[in-house]
Point group: C2
Chain length 94, copies 2
């Protein structure tokens, strides 16, 4: 395995695993008000496009890295959506 | 330009531009308490590794996409670090 391949794998591992601390912090604190829903929605769309691209070019690292990141980013986006919905329900409550 | 290349460019544009709403929200609201410093630090390291990888394999799209994302993610991380330092200073103040 060449040094360049190792560099690519390290880059993929970092940009994939990077979201783990945010998932833990968000679900533990229960607070995601400062997170941009737009960022996580666009990011999710981009990751799905990368996954489709990886399947189209039959590139396993691209498929795996983006599949894992979709799960992590999806977990953050789910929390943001749920807490926004709860906040809206509280505002409507009499 | 093949459909697969277009798909790759769309994926790169989405995962690069995705951070713009977070940069705007963070610098406008002045609040980044819910953001994970770990996520943005690891993400920045991963993006620098991708930039080095792009230079090593002489791939302009990888170089450009990651250079732009480094600026955006760097802007968010800078705000997180600054606000944490200010909060620490306030705690130490007599």
């Amino acid at each position: 395995m060449s040094a360049i391949t190792v560099l690519g794998l390290v880059a993929a591992a970092l940009t994939t695993g990077a979201y783990i601390p945010q998932v833990v912090k968000t679900w533990r604190s229960g607070s995601s008000a400062d997170l941009s829903m737009g960022t996580y929605a666009i990011l999710l769309a981009g990751l799905v496009a990368w996954l489709a691209y990886g399947i189209a070019v039959d590139d396993l690292p691209i498929i795996l890295a983006n599949a894992v990141t979709i799960v992590l980013v999806g977990a953050v986006l789910a929390h943001v959506l749920l807490s926004r919905r709860r906040a809206a329900a509280r505002r409507r409550a009499p």
